[in-house]
């Protein structure tokens, strides 16, 4: 299984901080497409993705137990 984390505006649109799904074998891009369709969350495409707390461009393949976080544009400081 994979934990999928949502933050900021994405978290509010989802109505929850995280979901658990089996995304292993999928690319980051495929996961984004799935989330968009399943949860009507087109803004995932404007987000970066972190796999296990490290930024990941679109082509990585998700492995079993990876934690995936959608990172909207940041605004700290």
């Amino acid at each position: 299984m994979n934990k999928i984390l949502f933050f900021a505006g994405l978290q509010e649109k989802m109505g929850k901080q995280s979901i658990e799904i089996d995304a292993s074998g999928q690319s980051v891009k495929q996961l984004k497409d799935y989330i968009e369709q399943e949860y009507n969350l087109s803004k995932v495409h404007e987000s970066m993705v972190a796999i296990n707390e490290e930024f990941a461009p679109g082509e990585e393949t998700i492995k079993e137990n990876d934690t995936i976080a959608f990172i909207p544009p940041v605004s700290g400081g």
């Binding site: 930024f55 976080a69 700290g76 400081g77």
Partner: protein, 155 residues
Amino acid sequence: MSRCYTITKEPISIEKTVGLVSRPEAGAINTFIGTVREITEGKRTLFLEYQAYQSMAEAKLAEIGEEISAKWPNTKTAIVHRVGRLDIEDIAVVIAVSTPHRADSYEASRYAIERIKEIVPIWKKEHWEDGEEWIGDQKETKAYSAGKPEKEDFS
């Protein structure tokens, strides 16, 4: 060392943050204090809400410290960022950098705050008199076409 890079819900102590980097080799400690501004482009902020992906945010703050050490030798950095509800004038972030000579401490401090705005997963929600919004893209870097923030060269 890990307490040098912290996300906290509590008010930040400037003095304690400075204490983390104070050492005999340093001849300069530069501090940057980021506070909550009331008026932005004519709009009145009532309060802010910060959220972080805490574990990753602390790792990225530490990464900024490593970048600073690589660029400016013999530097020690501490960064503390607050999350939760913050009122006007509250301190959102404190950066302290100690270096042997003052010029490096100014440059490194500036580098740290700019990098925070690029790579650290922290978000700010503005609460105005007439609405609220999660703010992104403060540096107007647009969507992350490379899939992650690009490194800016400050050297």
